[in-house]
Amino acid sequence: MLQKKRTNDRYIQGIRSNDTTILEEIYQKYSQAIIKLVTDNNGTIDDARDVIQESLIVIFKKTKDEDFQLTSSFLTYFYAIARNIWFKMLRKKRMSEVSINENLVLIEKSNVEAAIFKREKHNFYLSKFKKLGGQCQQLLEYYTQGKKVKEIVQLMGFSSEGYVRKRKFKCKEQLIKIIKQDQNYQELIM
């Protein structure tokens, strides 16, 4: 029990800090289980690679929450996320006949779904952010990184601090407009 917690903590900490050694250990130990899940259910090795990557990003984002703790083993959680992601991908590919070979008991279902939903929302916002002009993207990034307005003036060669502030609000307004204009937005907030 204690060992499981120690391993979980080590993995969570390693994922949170993007530690290559820990990530390698995770790939070595668990990728075969996910490859099997995907390839047994109409997927290819390339699909499996994407599923593993997406699953680890979902966990990476969860680890940003300081209170995040696993109540199951890491494999169970990782597998549950991968399974959800893969079946969502399959649904998108409109493969109606899907046989699910399921050996593991799934737990934390709502947690897993919430984490995946958050990731989808994040991807949606990020894709809209990338549609902004390069200058707007850079400006908003500097702001969220906590850079001072004075510094941004210098870094971006703007004429004044007032202009930087005004431009920031304009960029943010533009981003919100792009987001709300997308038909997927309504689906996302329902």
């Binding site: 290559t20 050694t21 820990i22 990557q53 969220t144 990184q145 709300k180």
Partner: protein
Amino acid sequence: MDKNNRQESIELYLQGKLEGQSLHDFEQQLKVDKTLQEDVTISKDVEEVINEVESEELFKENLLKLGGQYVVAQKPKTNATSFPLNWGIIILVVVVLAVVGYFFWQQQNISNSVEPEQIFASYYEPYPSSSITRSNVDTDEAYQNAIKAYNNEKYSEAIEGLTTKPADIPTQLLLSNCYLKVSPPETQKAIEALKSIAEGDSDLYSTTANWYLALAYLQNNQENEAKAIFKDLSQNGSNRYANLAKKILAEWK
């Protein structure tokens, strides 16, 4: 609410900087204005997304490398029973291959004794700065610039900023890598820094530190020290460094 100040008010509200009557008015408006509610939610979410863009991209980069390395198609297994067998031909092929292989191996031994510099050049990759936690990067501008310099391979420029965090092990790993990569290399400094990590309390980083320590020894022409570490690494589980160390030992005559 003045349309021009709308986004500004949302920002101030989210930052907790809206006060007094302005705050009261905003909250009243928020109760009844569905569009404003939406805009506040989006603003908040978007802020979070932008804040994580950089760290997520670094994480993804790491996963892309590892995915390419560990999630690969297995070679198809040949089915021995269904394969048409002609033992005479098979034995002949095996013998021919063995003879050719033997001569090839002899030639390799004669002409390709691997030099330490060759091993260093083939196996050295800078420690990824993506192992640095975002909180570190955010809090200190000099440090942030050092990381940028490191990523742009401006190692001598990076050194000063990286020396500001002597207690942070990933930072010390980056610093050691800078010492290995500056021109001329400051290998002795790298060896000292890496030794102290490898011998320290952190199990998490000791393998990584040992790997770079062995490479530093190679750069310093201390072949025996390097070999001893590669041997230890190769016997220590099946992580990436263990596999690489096995490969190096196999190549190194």
